[in-house]
């Protein structure tokens, strides 16, 4: 029989209702093993029948369960002794499992705390390392600048408005790149910014704005490139700078 035929025949229903002949019951068992669809159909039928039986349930008299349990003891001696024999093994296993669980929990707790501490430490250290790395990069760049055989240092000295101020220019003779070390300039007030000028044939040419990464210190930075210049100067301008110097000149130096 095809599975569709089996399903529509009613034999599954008959089986679930308990009215199938032994031959039919054997057939159903075989089909269920062979066709998952048939097994699924039978399952649905059985669930429906189960619900039907539940809807017609009649509670047994009170005390029936206790009597049943008591009556099971006498013929159930074999099972009982089996149970008693097996019990210590299971209990040992259960006890061992509990002990292992507790030990495991304790270790979990310890290692979890350790892990947390180590993680925090690790995080702090990597931050420190990153900072040091940045620092190193800056330093080595600065060092290369200073040590380069092409670099021409130009000292810019303080003028009458800022006698203590000083700055240094590194002018790369081969490329014309200009680096400024404004480390000895006072921090520009809020809204103001230093601007570098190159004096080319007596006229100031914009050399770019000097910036501070953290608003507290100035580090060596690359400015605009000059092919030639006779002098460099730095003025304090309003933020954003100007095409021509307007503010106070702080430092100046001739080449």
């Amino acid at each position: 029989m095809e599975k569709e035929e089996i399903i529509s025949s009613g034999i599954l229903e008959l089986y679930a209702a308990g009215a199938a002949s032994p031959e039919e019951a054997a057939q159903v068992a075989g089909w269920c093993a062979q066709y998952p669809e048939v097994a699924a159909e039978l399952l649905s039928i059985e669930k429906a029948m189960e619900a039907y039986a539940m809807a017609h349930a009649v509670s047994p008299r009170a005390g029936t369960k206790e009597k049943l349990i008591a009556s099971l003891n006498i013929p159930a001696d074999q099972q009982s002794s089996k149970i008693v024999k097996m019990a210590p093994r299971f209990n040992m296993a259960a006890a061992a499992a509990v002990v292992l669980l507790i030990v495991s929990a304790v270790f979990n707790y310890i290692y979890y705390n350790k892990y947390n501490a180590l993680e925090a430490q690790n995080k702090a250290q990597s931050q420190q390392l990153a900072q040091l790395n940045n620092h190193m990069t800056d330093m080595s760049r600065d060092m290369n600048l200073v040590r380069s055989k092409y670099s021409l240092p130009v000292s810019l000295n303080g003028l009458k408005d800022a006698p203590d101020a000083a700055a240094k220019i590194f002018w790369m003779k081969n490329t014309g790149e200009v680096y400024v070390d404004p480390g000895n300039l006072p921090m520009a007030p809020k809204g103001m910014q230093y601007q570098l000028w190159g004096m080319v044939d007596g006229k100031p040419v914009d050399g770019g704005l000097i910036t501070s990464k953290d608003g507290k210190t100035y580090s060596i930075q690359k400015m605009k490139t000059f092919g030639r210049a006779q002098a460099f100067a730095i003025t304090l301008e309003t933020e954003g700078g100007h095409p021509q110097p307007k503010g106070t000149m702080y430092v100046m130096g001739n080449i």
């Binding site: 025949s9 089986y15 017609h56 008693v84």
Partner: protein
């Protein structure tokens, strides 16, 4: 309570442990696995959840309360002792249990001298006098499905009940309902299809 083997909580007289938290709910697979290991807690659960449904079948055929109780007990003892014979590839646990209960009830009635004819005639009354049955239905635990079941046609209810609750063979159903033997399967199918729609 004495302790045996140092740790097992077995009562010296009652080797079965009854209490099981009522909120425990087993899946059919879990329940079967536990019963295969002869787990008493699972047996207790089995009783709590299915005794009333199985008793429903017994009380359909047995009117005498003491006899019904004895049959229910014996059915559970059979279920417990023969659990290894349950084959879950051949159907659900409940189907197996209700088959055991139904067969045991019929066998007991026979051995007590109730002739099959008597049983059938007794059932005839209840089948033909459908009003009587609904009266006895008052005793049944009420579930939502019960209300729904009124939508089943009487013929559909009768064919299900004759087989499922009264253990009629196909032959007996055919005679009882005056339908050809070949029609019993298809009638049963349409009745149970109708029942499934109500669920």
């Amino acid at each position: 309570m004495k302790e045996k083997s140092g740790c097992r909580i077995l009562h010296p007289d009652s080797k079965f442990i009854l209490p099981l938290p009522s909120n425990v709910k087993y899946s059919e697979e879990e329940l079967v696995a536990l019963l295969r290991e002869q787990d008493q807690g699972a047996f207790s659960y089995l009783y709590d959840n299915y005794a009333a449904a199985l008793n429903g079948v017994i009380t359909r055929m047995v009117t005498e309360p003491q006899l019904a109780e004895d049959i229910l007990q014996e059915a559970f003892i059979k279920i417990w002792n023969n659990f290894a014979q349950y084959d879950n590839t051949k159907g659900r646990l409940f189907t197996w249990m209700i088959n055991i209960t139904r067969n045991l009830t019929i066998d007991t009635l026979r051995s007590k001298g109730f002739k099959k004819q008597q049983k059938i005639s007794q059932d005839e009354n209840s089948v033909s006098g459908y009003g009587d049955r609904s009266m006895s239905a008052e005793r049944f635990d009420s579930i939502g499905l019960k209300k729904q079941l009124q939508y089943l046609k009487p013929d559909q209810r009768i064919i299900i009940d004759l087989a499922y609750f009264n253990g009629y063979t196909q032959d007996e159903i055919s005679k009882e309902m005056s339908i050809p033997l070949g029609t019993v399967k298809t009638r049963m199918r349409s009745a149970i299809m109708e029942l499934r729609k109500l669920l």
